[in-house]
Amino acid sequence: MGMTITEKILAAHSKRECVVPGEIVNAKLDLIVCHEVTTPPAVQMLRKLGINKVFDPSKILVTPDHFVPNKDIKSAELAKQLRQWREEQGITRYYEVGNHGICHAIAPEQGHVLPGMTIICGDSHTTTMGALGTFATGVGSTDLAAALATGELWFKVPESILFELNGPLPHGVYSKDIILYIISKIGVDGARYKAMEYRGSSLRYLTMEARFTITNMAIEAGGKSGIMPVDEIAMNYVHARTSEPYELYYSDDDAEYAERFTIDVSSLEPMVALPSLPSNGRFIGEVPRVKIDQVYIGSCTNGRIEDLRIAASVMKGHKVAKGTRAIVVPATTEVWKTAMREGLFDIFSEAGCVISTATCGACLGGYMGVLGAEETCLSTTNRNFVGRMGDPRAKVYLASPATAAATAITGTITDPREFLKPESQHLLAAAESAYGQDDYLWGV
């Protein structure tokens, strides 16, 4: 019987010929990503046990990201503990404030993620990195502690669900719409304990940046991981960042899947997930034009440069509606710099947006746009649970950066196609050539 890409990676990392779903394996880890919220408790656990050295500092990447720069005294303490620990351990892959970024975005962006890797982080959106053909999953602090000490972790080999994505993306439809559509079909526990594997002709229309949005939200369907096969687009992305060697794994033709779904991407429309579950997605035509108090463009889901380019292309020449505020939060410092160089900040600031440094910020109700009672927010983040972005009585809608930008302009939930004119493609085309990748198409 054949194996899936996930099974092959786990087998290779636990020195086995083959593994089957349900089996518990102890897998070697290639990369451990650490941020300031879940790492300090792990470090404390290790200290209590008298374990004072990590297994291999070169396999660990550290960045503060949740409350950067420190939002209050307590978060300052966490960041300080993280900083001291990485110094004492001699971890060199460290992104200090000023070079920092949301961990799931900065790790691949800075060339630390290679196809075939096993990756963990004390954060549920670690699944993001699976878009580069890795097994990447989120864990808690105890797992993190065990991993930091031993370089290994136990995993139950997950069953896989195969999503075949077919066709080009229609005008105004982006990868965020694809994943919101999928979650609306299978529910917030539709992929519980399972690996969500993607393939199909739509992938060639998706840049790596767009793909990360899809694997990012695996956890929103309860998934253990999200994974995509490595193709030319993925290899170009990796080779532009690192020359480290890696191994490629592909699912066998006769691999077994718990379920298979085929999605006709060319028939999709922009999606909005209504409060308060990511699975409440509807086509935008079915969503009432609710008045929106705050638009939030950012996060590890949609804070990459392509997202900001798309939002800027919609917002160009417009103003944020009276009675609405718009907050733009680049996912990493590199994204921030690129956006500034490309003039995107001029567009956003002319429109009346607030532009933040890279941070998780209000995505998890930390700061930089926390919501008050009864306030409404349309956000490009990944979760709209009760209380996620602030007061439990606030209402959060999830959508793509294009929909977010269109909504900021009108102040009510708005179909981005009302604003996406052909000329908006120019900005993207320019950015595309600036990025040196012309072998893919944009979904606009």
Binding site: F55, G222, F385
Partner: protein, 173 residues
């Protein structure tokens, strides 16, 4: 931590809703600390502000489908344990919460349907070895699939870290 007792007794706190997420169990506004006693003050706050006032050491939380979904924060397990909760019994659990729980030696029991027959305040008895859940107040009984051997080993060891220490001898220090 001592061996798992085979029988546990306590009172139920029932939350029927599916998909109770870790943001509700311990809101992110409290994530700037990780001391169990501090987190415990806010356990379940966004779903029931009075929970911490009512819960007694040894009590059980009873829930519907997919308990603990969302963020991977282990703080959710610590907050519940710190508040005195002895076990969570749910129709099903989200993956990371389940994993965090057993990694902490915290009891999580999958007992589909239990939530329908239990009311808040009912006294329950859990027989871990036999996989039986008795509602002493109502005189009803249901069964659950006992923990897997691996989960049981972890919980008995007191969690993942002590388990690793035991399995590998002292981890390199």
């Amino acid at each position: 931590m001592p061996e798992l007792p085979t029988k546990l007794k306590g009172y139920a706190h029932v939350y029927e809703r599916a998909h109770i997420n870790t943001d509700e169990i311990i809101p992110a506004r409290y994530l700037n600390v990780h001391e169990e006693a501090e987190l415990a003050k806010h356990a379940m706050e966004d779903i029931d502000v009075d929970f911490v006032k009512r819960v007694q050491p040894g009590d059980f939380v009873i829930a519907g489908d997919d308990f603990g979904c969302g963020s991977s924060r282990e703080h959710a397990v610590w907050a519940l344990r710190g508040a005195g909760v002895r076990a969570v019994i749910a129709n099903s659990f989200a993956r990371i919460f389940f994993r965090n729980a057993i990694n902490n030696g915290f009891l999580v029991i999958e007992c589909p349907g239990a939530v329908q027959s239990i009311n808040t305040g009912d006294e329950l008895e859990i027989d871990l070895a036999a996989g039986r859940l008795r509602n002493l107040t109502k005189g009803t009984e249901s069964s659950f699939v006992p923990l897997s051997d691996f989960a049981r080993e972890l919980i008995t060891a007191g969690g993942l870290l002590p388990y690793i220490q035991k399995a590998h001898g002292a981890v390199e220090s």
